[in-house]
Structure formats: structure tokens, C-alpha cells
């Protein structure tokens, strides 16, 4: 095996490819976490977004419609968690677990009901998201891949600083964090915690839906049953590792994108797909173990 072949310029673009859906979903999860709702339903929200995006793009013949519908579908789906956890006092973990199962059932059922296929829906009628190549910049060696992304790719990367500003430099972000950390204190300041929490969950659904659109209309142009394949869970871990900080989320997502891309490459060196597929999950687990000091510190702080 030749290491130079493993790490070449194309690696950057494959890392970005793997990273963007996870990053979009994780940024969504971050917002919900900041508002005090533990969102482990990202997996299902990505899947719903992917299906809705493919269906809308197929029927409208327009990728913009596909992306918008994916976003709306993700937000609509996340209402289950938002309404249930915020207004009905339901347990977010229970709701999200059920949502993830619902998403698989729902999309597989509609796949047969609407498109009359099982497993995979592939059709030339599905219009994929184009790549917007920025001239000159895209020709820079190595970093050029950063300027040859899908619109959602740029959006995801720009959202990192944008959400940082919103969270830490605007009244909106202050209130959102206040709601998550001290809901009662926020309420006495005249902030309605429930509205902020619902809004954060809806936003997380919309972002995860966009992640699904990137997955099914950008990375590939097709819908496959259960195509989110654990990315939502990786996004959940990214949120926890980053302590819901935008830059940390980017870092964590970068790591997983890297693991994914390397695994995919190792396949061309003859490693069986089954083993490389396990890579991102094993690495995620290893990172959890290595970063466990953070967990312990917070636990001790919580007990003290």
C-alpha cells in the first residue's frame, strides 16, 4: 500500500463530501442542545430530509425545490420531538428513538407507495444539486476543493461562524443559551422558554433535513433505504464532544469525514467494504474514550 496514494489532493474533496451532511445535522443538534433539548433524532431527520428532497426534486425537476422541501420536511418531522418534549412533557430520548424508527418505516413505506420500488430509487428525473465551482480559487492545490462545493456545502461551512456569532454575540443567542441553561431565570427575564426550545428543535430538523438533501441529491443522486446509515448518531456524538460549540462541532465533523473518506479509499487497496464501513464508528468511539476527561470533569462538576 502506498501512502502517497492514500493522501492525495482528492482526499480533501472526499473528506468534504463525507463531512457536509454530518456537519449540517450536527449544527442542528447543537442548537437544540443549547436550548436544553437533547436531540438524538437527527438520524431520522436526515433520512426524512433525504427522501423528501429526492421526491420533490423528481416531481418538480428542480433541485432548489428539492432542497427547500427537504428542509421543510426535516422541520415538520422534528415537530414530533419539539411539540412532544416541549409542550407535552415527553421524554426526548423516547421520542427521538421512536422517530428514528418511524423515519425508516415511513420512507421505506412511501418508497413503495409512491415510486413502486423497493430498496433503491434511482431515476434520471431526479435533479441533483450542482457543484458551484469558484473560478481561479478552485484551482489552488489542496485547498481548491473548498471552493468547488455544492451550495449546501458552502452554506454548511459558512454556518459555523454565522451560528457562532448568533449564539455568542446576539441577544437571540443569549436568550437561547439562557433558556437551555436556566429556563426559570430566562422566564423571569420575559423570555418564553418553550417558544425558544421549539424553535431550536425546528431549526435542528431543518438543518438535518438539509444534511439529508446533500446526502441524497449531492453526494449521490438517489434514495436508498436507511441511507443515513448512522450519520445522525455520529452528529450526536459530535455535538457532545464539542460541548455544543460551533467550532468544536466543525472539528468533530471533520474528524469523522476524514475517517469516512480514508475508509472509502482503503477499499481500493483491497480492504473489504464491511471492515472499512465500521471505521467511522470505531473512530467515533475511540475519540469518545480519548476525550473522556471532558465527560468526567463535567460529571464531577455536576456532583460537586
Amino acid at each position: 500500500m502506498n501512502l502517497a496514494e492514500l493522501f492525495d489532493q482528492d482526499l480533501v474533496s472526499s473528506v468534504l463530501r463525507s463531512l457536509i451532511p454530518i456537519l449540517l445535522a450536527a449544527l442542528g443538534g447543537m442548537l437544540a442542545e443549547r436550548a436544553g433539548i437533547f436531540n438524538i433524532g437527527l438520524e431520522g431527520m436526515i433520512l426524512v430530509g433525504a427522501f423528501a428532497g429526492v421526491a420533490a426534486s423528481y416531481f418538480s425537476g428542480n433541485w432548489v425545490v428539492g432542497v427547500i422541501v427537504a428542509m421543510l420536511a426535516g422541520a415538520l418531522f422534528s415537530l414530533i420531538l419539539g411539540y412532544g418534549a416541549v409542550y407535552r412533557g415527553g421524554d426526548p430520548i423516547v421520542l427521538a428513538v421512536a422517530m428514528n424508527i418511524l423515519a425508516i418505516g415511513l420512507t421505506s413505506f412511501l418508497l413503495v407507495a409512491i415510486f413502486n420500488v423497493q430498496g433503491v430509487f434511482q431515476d434520471p428525473g431526479i435533479v441533483g444539486i450542482p457543484v458551484w465551482r469558484i473560478p481561479i480559487l478552485a484551482d489552488i492545490p489542496w485547498l481548491g476543493a473548498l471552493f468547488s462545493l455544492s451550495p449546501l456545502g458552502y452554506l454548511a461551512l459558512l454556518l459555523v461562524p454565522a451560528l457562532w456569532i448568533v449564539l455568542f454575540r446576539t441577544p437571540l443567542g443569549l436568550r437561547l443559551r439562557g433558556v437551555g441553561e436556566r429556563p426559570l431565570a430566562a422566564a423571569t427575564m420575559g423570555v418564553n422558554p418553550q417558544r425558544y426550545q421549539l424553535g431550536a428543535v425546528l431549526a435542528s430538523g431543518a438543518l438535518a433535513g438539509l444534511g439529508g438533501a446533500q446526502l441524497a441529491l449531492g453526494n449521490v443522486v438517489q434514495f436508498t433505504e436507511n441511507m443515513s446509515a448512522g450519520r445522525g448518531w455520529i452528529a450526536v456524538v459530535a455535538v457532545m464532544l464539542a460541548r455544543a460549540h460551533p467550532v468544536g462541532v466543525l472539528g468533530a465533523a471533520l474528524l469523522f469525514g476524514f475517517a469516512d473518506a480514508i475508509g472509502f479509499r482503503l477499499q481500493s487497496f483491497g480492504l473489504p467494504q464491511q471492515l472499512t464501513d465500521a471505521g467511522p464508528y470505531v473512530i467515533t468511539l475511540l475519540v469518545l474514550v480519548l476525550m473522556s476527561g471532558r465527560f468526567r470533569k463535567t460529571r464531577e462538576a455536576a456532583l460537586a
Binding site: 438524538i40 407535552r88 412533557g89 415527553g90 424508527i101 413505506f109 448512522g230 464501513d277
Partner: protein
């Protein structure tokens, strides 16, 4: 009279209302797919309970759901969020299945050996997560979940590249020796089965169930009874229930949280491994098939069942039968009406979502001002402990 009123109150409570509403939502999805809901539900009912074979199928399908459901219930009751039963049961099926396929010798030795191997494999996979939480503080919710994927892909790889039997079209091992498979309650070629067929008829319900369901049903019943006994009569059951309700109080009372998590995960993972094995030594399969356990979705169905049953063993058994019937019925409906059998997952998930929404008919008597309405605590999913997430505020607290 009192019992009647209590039944009436239960019927107006969250569980039955959630079930009914979920079935209504299922009907809407059938309409979307262009099927009349009455036809759909008729096909579903007919497929799951309508015939002896259907009933036998439902019972057989309920076994792994109930078994894995008990495994999850034991963990959740102790406040240990084990979402990794798919991996634990899958590895149990793999390791136990390998023992069952390849070990020579009399079945009286091979079957117990396979069971021990399956339980050990599941328990070890569960213990990894327990050790990670105790030693390093990695939340069990995440570690168990992430451990599903290596287990899934490793099984897949092993069966495809190391164990595949070229004699079959499927990617699968060779069959387990018939002597080493779990026998039907009444073996089909036995004299008693012949008597049953002659006296009751070959399609009679009793004949179909006794000759169509294997001994794993008995194992499941024993496990349910064992779990009831454990919860009510043993120290471990008491301590785990207490910890699930109020971890701080249990700690104050002298329960050591670390060892409790270890014991719970070993037991939970071991049970999951055992029932993973059941799916490859008799029904639905008699060999290891790539991806079969994951696709069957038993582990996740079992999780929903456990939530519906509010972690109570008898409830798990009843809810498990119900969800198995929905699955078997949906398969039948799918075949007859050209629908996706995934309607089962939609209905099942909505039952849990609606239950978490606490939907219920309004009580007959109005709440008197100042007094709380009598709430059936048992009618709600007990609160789950939040995983030890690194909360954003910790940073501020350090200052």
C-alpha cells in the same frame, strides 16, 4: 365492580388510546398507498391471528422480541440506557451460531455450548459499554449505540468471506445439523403430532401452534417469569429499580452504582445474545445469513415494546405479542395488497410517540380546584436519566 371500573379507566388511558390513534394513522397511510384501510387491517388480522399457521408465526416472531425486550427492560429499569441490543444479539447469534454449525458432537452438548457462547458474546459486548462508562464516563447510550455498527459489519464480513457456503445462493453458512436445531414443541414427525393431526385436523390452531413453534417459546416464558421474580424478590431487582427511580437516593442507601451498571449490562447483553441465537437455531433461520438479524429489526422493535410496556416484564410479553402480530400481519398485507411491510414500523413508532405525548381521553370527573387529579403513575413511561452529557454551562461554572 371495582375491577370493571378500573378496566374502564385503563381503556380511556394513554396506552389504549395511543394504540387506537396509531392504528388510525396507519389507516391514513394505507389510504395514501391506495388501499382501503378495512381491507388492509382485515388482511393484517387474518395474517397474524386468522389461521393456525399465522398464530404460530406470530408466537414464533414474538419470542426474540420479548426476549430482547426483557433484556432492554432490565437495563432501562436500572436507568442504564442500553441501545446496543442489536449488536449484542447479533454477536450472540454469530458466535452461538458458529458453535452450533461447526461443533461436532451430540446435540445434548452442542446446544448448551452454543447457548453459553451466545450469552457470553452478548454479555461481553454489553460489558465493554459498562466498563467505558464506569472507568471513563463515556455515556452508555452512545457507546452501546456505536458498538452496534462494528458488530454488524464484523458479522457481515465473517459470514461473507470466511463462512460462506458456496452450495447456497444466499451469503450464508451451511445449515445447522437438524439434531442441533431447536425442536418444535411437538416434533412434526412424532407420533403425538400424528395423533394431533388425526384428532384435531392438520390446520387446527392447537396442532399448528404445537408443531409450528419451537422450544424458544418456553425459554422466553421462563425468562419473563425470571424477570418478574428478579424484580420483586431479589436484591439486585430492588437495587436496580431503586437506582432507575432515583440514582442519588440509591447511592445514599448504599447501592454501589459501578458494580450495578456492570451486572445490569452483563445480564442485559447476555439475554440479548441468547435471543439472538434463537433466531438462527430454529426460526426464522437454521443457519447464519448475512445481514439477516439487522434486517429483521427485532432489536429496535423490542425497544419500542419495552417502552410501551413501561419496563414491566409481563407488559413486555403482551406488547411483544401485539407488535409481533403487527409485523406478521403487515407481511401478509404486503404480500396480498402490494404494500411495503414497513407499515408495521410506522404504526409501532406512532404508538410510542403518542404514548410519550400522554394522549388520553379526558377524565369523566372534572379536576377539583386545588386537588391534583389522581394520576396513574404507572401509565407513563418512567423518566430516563439524561446521559452525562458535557453541558455547555460547565465551562462557565469553572470560572
Amino acid at each position: 365492580m371495582n375491577a370493571l371500573r378500573r378496566t374502564g379507566r385503563w381503556l380511556a388511558g394513554p396506552i389504549p388510546i395511543s394504540v387506537v390513534l396509531a392504528l388510525v394513522i396507519g389507516a391514513v397511510f394505507m389510504l395514501v398507498a391506495g388501499v382501503h384501510p378495512l381491507d388492509g387491517y382485515a388482511a393484517m388480522l387474518n395474517g397474524s391471528f386468522g389461521s393456525g399457521a399465522g398464530l404460530a408465526n406470530t408466537l414464533q416472531r414474538a419470542v426474540p422480541i420479548i426476549g430482547i425486550g426483557i433484556a432492554i427492560a432490565i437495563a432501562f429499569r436500572a436507568g442504564v440506557l442500553n441501545l446496543g441490543t442489536e449488536g449484542q444479539a447479533g454477536l450472540g447469534a454469530l458466535v452461538g451460531g458458529i458453535v452450533a454449525v461447526y461443533t461436532p458432537g451430540p446435540s445434548i452438548l452442542v446446544i448448551p455450548l452454543a447457548i453459553v457462547a451466545a450469552v457470553a458474546a452478548g454479555a461481553v459486548w454489553g460489558l465493554i459499554a459498562a466498563l467505558l462508562q464506569n472507568g471513563l464516563g463515556v455515556p452508555i447510550l452512545l457507546s452501546t449505540l456505536l458498538l452496534n455498527y462494528p458488530a454488524r459489519y464484523f458479522s457481515s464480513w465473517l459470514i461473507r468471506f470466511k463462512l460462506d457456503d458456496p452450495g447456497s445462493d444466499l451469503v450464508a453458512t451451511r445449515q445447522i445439523e437438524p439434531a442441533n436445531q431447536l425442536a418444535m414443541l411437538v416434533p412434526r414427525d412424532s407420533a403425538f403430532a400424528e395423533t394431533l393431526r388425526n384428532t384435531l385436523g392438520p390446520t387446527n390452531v392447537v396442532t399448528a401452534v404445537l408443531t409450528g413453534v419451537n422450544w424458544s417459546l418456553v425459554i422466553a416464558i421462563v425468562v419473563v417469569a425470571g424477570a418478574i421474580f428478579m424484580n420483586r424478590r431479589t436484591r439486585f431487582g430492588f437495587e436496580s429499580g431503586l437506582t432507575g427511580q432515583n440514582a442519588e437516593f440509591a447511592r445514599y442507601g448504599g447501592v454501589k452504582p459501578g458494580p450495578l451498571v456492570l451486572k445490569t449490562m452483563a445480564l442485559s447483553g447476555g439475554l440479548a445474545g441468547l435471543f439472538g441465537l434463537m433466531t438462527v437455531v430454529g426460526a426464522p433461520n437454521t443457519r447464519l445469513i448475512e445481514g439477516s438479524f439487522v434486517q429483521s429489526n427485532y432489536a429496535w422493535t423490542a425497544l419500542l415494546v419495552t417502552l410501551l410496556a413501561l419496563y414491566r416484564p409481563l407488559g413486555v410479553a403482551i406488547a411483544g405479542l401485539f407488535f409481533a402480530a403487527i409485523m406478521v400481519g403487515s407481511d401478509a398485507m404486503g404480500r396480498e395488497l402490494g404494500l411495503s411491510p414497513q407499515i408495521a414500523a410506522v404504526i409501532q413508532a406512532f404508538v410510542i410517540i403518542l404514548l410519550a405525548f400522554r394522549v388520553a381521553l379526558p377524565r369523566g370527573r372534572r379536576r377539583r380546584a386545588g386537588t391534583e387529579a389522581p394520576v396513574d403513575e404507572a401509565e407513563e413511561i418512567p423518566p430516563l436519566p439524561a446521559p452525562t452529557a458535557p453541558r455547555p454551562e460547565a465551562k462557565e461554572a469553572e470560572r
